[in-house]
Amino acid sequence: MTAQPLAIPSRSHYLTAQKERGRKVLGVFPAQYPREILWAHDIAPMEIWDPPLEPGSAPAHLQPYICAVVRQGLELVLRGGAARLDGLLVPHTCDSLQNLASLLNDYLELPVPVLFFYHPKEPFRDSARAYYRRQLTILDQKLAARFGPRREGALEQAVAWGQRVAELAGRTYDLRARGQLSAPALEFYRVLRAGEFLHPEDHIPLLEEFLAVHQGPAPAGPVVLLSGVLPNPKELLSLLDQQGARVGHDDFLGLSRRLLFPASQAADPFDALCEQYFALPPCSTRGSALSQRLDWLKGLAQASGARGVIFYVVKFCEPELFDVPPLMAGLKEQGLATMSLEVELNQGVSGQIATRVEAFLEMLS
């Protein structure tokens, strides 16, 4: 019997609940940022990846080739979505998000502050590590200046939370890779993605419950890897579930590329955050070399028994789209089947895309 979906509050209700309990809430754009520093300041990050909005005003501010993540995030802000927040944080993930940061900060006269977070791109030399540590402390100071100092021991506690989330996420990924997680892909990503807005005090028990409910044999169908920005449109996940396929692993920017890291043993919390950042899987938005990404994907395929890789790319995502053709070629050389789907967010799956996915799975069967 299929387990019932776990109860997860809506983002809107959760935001209200966080405010009622006295927490500040920051809207955070993708992708990499030190959540632990926000938690340490008793701030709940509410990540803005793919709000289900039809762009109305945002296109007037953006070039037509800007991706839907930026377009829909801006649309949310223009429709007053920032009014319930205490600020916005924009990491320097790509040029489009950097432009969005400028728009939000310089032109839109928002009622809330807009903060930036810069992280170094590869190659990572010693100077990159020093730079990253400095950015962590700058963000910490900015938050203290804006919202008051954090309490003693709060950062250590937050780092421990982050490590617990990573450990639990790592276990779910590991079980899934070994075919020992019965959860459908749709439920897997619903629970993992809840971490985009749940405080770790709520996300940790959810992940624990998920593991308790879903340990068990996975479907015996073809195994695929998913790579891309985020698993949207979710109808594609439903399609994989309906076809009896198993997602063996993923390489999503919004998920494994920032969730899976070994816990640092460093006593200083800033040192721990630094170590963990530089131990993250390779990523296009951090400028990782293609060879690193290719080896990483090959390793994931080997570990999970996947024979095919589906690149699930948000239209116009420049960092990803530059990497996809050579990655596909490299994987094909290793005997792995590949397919690239360019998708729009929240727009379902067309008949042609469904046919391509089904045919890909038939090919792997």
Binding site: A337, S350, Q352, T355, A359, E362, M363
Partner: protein
């Protein structure tokens, strides 16, 4: 003796094939899909069964394919047209290693192994540019039927350039060319060239392995086939009835499923 059916519900036509245990084709039918996929599938199946002298009760297993495959309640299983065209083309020409299928609403290039199993494929999934629907609209604009296109294209002494395969933009170009009294056969050949260039680019991305077989309704158009062969620099095989290749593959897969 068990019999098997393959039903291919495409955007323009719905086709059915009946085979026996030995894989011999006993009946086939091609009907217009129109606005009701299920009714079109039933009509095609019943016509094919009638040709074979059978009834639905004689069928041991049926497979539906094509974009309307989910609307065929009498089929026990659905399989994509990519797998079905691959196997169907291989059954007709066992030397097939690449299938080019230009259907009513999309086009595909399929790479096969020596058993007819799909090893790779590409498919346009953006719009109907460079498909049978494109030709249908252009034929209408030129006051021609689809059957006229191939003959006229082959007879053309030259061709005009059509810069777009977007159905809307190309229609506008055709209107301008007609207004300037360009010969229809040259316009038709230009339209064919535009489709071939688009599909050939897609096939090139997959890598052409001979022998190449064309399937789908557009393979009936000798003008497109000739230009495709010229563009790719290879010989192209065309089945006697290219429109039923998907249904044949579905019937063969039905036999395999039942076994």
């Amino acid at each position: 003796m068990p019999f098997y059916a393959g039903i291919d519900v495409g955007s323009l036509s719905s086709d059915a094939v009946i085979i026996d245990q030995e894989g011999r084709m006993l009946g086939s039918a091609i009907t217009e899909t129109g606005a009701h996929s299920t009714q079109a599938a039933e009509k095609a199946l019943d016509l094919a069964l009638a040709q074979a002298g059978l009834s639905r009760g004689d069928l041991a297993f049926s497979v539906a394919t094509g974009y309307g495959r989910v609307s065929v309640p009498m089929a026990q299983k659905t399989i994509t047209e990519i797998s079905c065209h691959g196997l169907g083309a291989h059954a007709i020409f066992p030397n097939t290693r690449t299938v080019i299928d230009i259907g009513g609403q999309d086009s595909k290039a399929i790479s096969l192994d020596e058993r007819g199993k799909v090893v790779d494929f590409v498919m346009n999934d953006k719009c109907a540019a460079g498909t049978g629907r494109f030709l249908e609209v252009m034929a209408g604009k030129l006051g021609l039927t689809l059957d006229d296109l191939g003959r006229l294209s082959l007879a053309a002494a030259g061709e005009v350039s059509i810069s777009s395969v977007c159905t809307v933009f190309a229609e506008s170009e055709v209107v301008s060319l007609v207004a300037r009294n360009h010969p229809r056969e040259q316009i038709v050949r230009g339209l064919h060239r535009a489709i071939v260039n688009r599909v050939a680019a897609m096939v090139g991305g997959l890598g052409v392995k001979e022998a190449v077989t064309m399937s789908g309704g557009v393979a009936k158009n000798a003008g497109v086939v000739a230009l495709m062969a010229e563009r790719l620099g290879i010989n192209i095989q065309v089945p006697p009835e290219p429109q039923i290749v998907g249904a044949l593959g579905a019937a063969l897969l039905a036999r395999r499923q039942a076994g």
